[in-house]
């Protein structure tokens, strides 16, 4: 893999090819940060901060075994740190709007938007580990082993957490739908 070769350059840490690293990893880091923050500008800031960290700790780069996991972990922690400063109501709604099908009628689009918002809200209310596993599993580039390495869990634990997260999310959404229908019937 090219980035790993770029990172594990001989012995001179100063010879790390940062432009190559940025080119290879910026998209995945952006997706990781965006899944937490749901804001494009904030996610870009996180990616930039992650590469600044790389620059500052480039002396230790040759000792890094899996550079992608290491970078994703940095970006993940930075995004979580930044996420603590943002309230859920301050998060960008443009992501939910972008998922709504534009070809349907306005009332159907509104209902779909509300459903997506409900899913995002329930995802925020999931337990921390389950939410982390669910969000990281949404990123294609990351395997279960890599997610386990990022979160410091075993692979089986990650699989169990993912299954539990989806189950819990399904149940909560069903309950929410029932509640909504009851209110509408009244």
């Amino acid at each position: 893999m090219f980035p790993r070769a770029a990172a594990s350059t001989d012995n001179a840490a100063s010879q790390v090819d940062l432009p190559a690293l940025v080119h290879a990893y910026a998209p995945v880091l952006f997706r990781v940060a965006y899944s937490v923050l749901r804001s494009r500008t904030e996610a870009e800031d996180v990616v930039q901060d992650a590469f600044v960290r790389v620059l500052e700790h480039r002396q230790s780069l040759p000792g890094v075994r899996d550079l992608r996991v290491w970078l994703v972990r940095i970006a993940w922690n930075l995004a979580l740190d930044r996420r603590r400063r943002i309230r859920p109501d301050q998060m960008d709604e443009s992501f939910a709007r972008s998922l709504v099908d534009g070809s349907v009628a306005a009332d159907a689009a509104l209902a779909e938007f509300q459903q997506i918002q409900a899913v995002l809200g329930e995802m925020e209310r999931l337990p921390k580990t389950e939410r982390s596993v669910l969000l990281l599993s949404a990123i294609d580039e990351l395997s279960t082993a890599e997610i386990a390495s990022i979160l410091g869990r075993s692979e089986s634990a990650v699989r169990a957490l993912l299954s539990r997260a989806r189950q819990r999310l399904r149940e909560r959404l069903a309950k929410g739908e029932e509640r909504r229908w009851k209110i509408l019937k009244k």
Binding site: P19, V22, A118
Partner: protein
């Protein structure tokens, strides 16, 4: 209505498909370059900070000298501020009345002179000046008192007088308008004679009123003679 599972999949696939903004990589490259330039070793300040061994020689002397100069400046500035805040500690710069008071320390130590109100004995000195000087003993006096030993430490110093209120200040202004000139012109005997004369004037019986002991028949004739019609 869609199945919740489908909505969850839609959301997750949306997160998966998010594309980074255009030009993000270029912006990150620029930021990294600027960060690297900040960390460049050719910056003289950073060079010195990264090599503290150099500070042990000439750099250390410079730092110590800079600290000494800063401390000296602070000391001088603090001294000037203190002098500006307490002009009463410098008799040459004060009011003439204050100079007079400081030249007679015996009168300062008396309790009457520390009162904000004027007593007849201290009429020549402005009470404000007395208060200012007496409330701030000089440093020399304090050192002398400390050197005098335990006997001097037993002497109790009264608390400094409270600042005058607005009413007290107005009262002082009223009481001291031309006060010294008036006091100089007072003669006790003349004052007494004037008061006696005013008393006599006030209680002197009017000449037109006559005490009448005659019978009522004669009253008419008496009133007819005494009262003169004004119109």
């Amino acid at each position: 209505m869609e199945d919740p599972e489908e909505v969850v999949d839609t959301v997750l696939s949306g997160l998966r498909a998010v594309a980074p903004p255009v030009g993000m990589e270029a912006r990150i490259q620029l930021a990294l370059q600027s960060h690297r330039a900040d960390q460049a070793p050719d910056s003289p300040f950073r060079f010195r900070l990264r090599r503290p061994a150099l500070l042990g020689g000439f750099g250390g002397v410079l730092v110590v000298a800079a600290w000494c100069v800063a401390a000296l400046c602070l000391f001088v500035l603090a001294g000037r501020r203190g002098a500006a805040k307490h002009p009463a500690e410098h008799p040459a710069a004060g009011h003439p009345a204050e100079q007079a008071v400081t030249s007679t320390p015996a009168s300062i130590s008396t309790p009457e002179s520390q009162s904000p109100f004027v007593t007849p004995g201290a009429g020549a000195v402005h009470p404000r000046a007395v208060r200012l000087v007496s409330s701030r003993p000089s440093r020399g006096a304090a050192v002398a008192a400390a050197d005098a030993g335990p006997a001097a430490s037993l002497v109790s110093f009264p608390a400094p007088p409270m600042p005058l209120t607005e009413q007290e200040r107005l009262l002082l202004v009223l009481a001291h308008r031309r006060g010294q000139a008036r006091l100089a012109g007072i003669d006790a005997q003349k004052q007494e004679a004037r008061e006696t004369e005013q008393f006599q004037e006030f209680f002197k019986p009017e000449p037109s009123i006559v005490v009448n002991d005659t019978p009522p028949a004669a009253v008419d004739t008496a009133t007819a003679t005494t009262t003169t019609p004004s119109k």
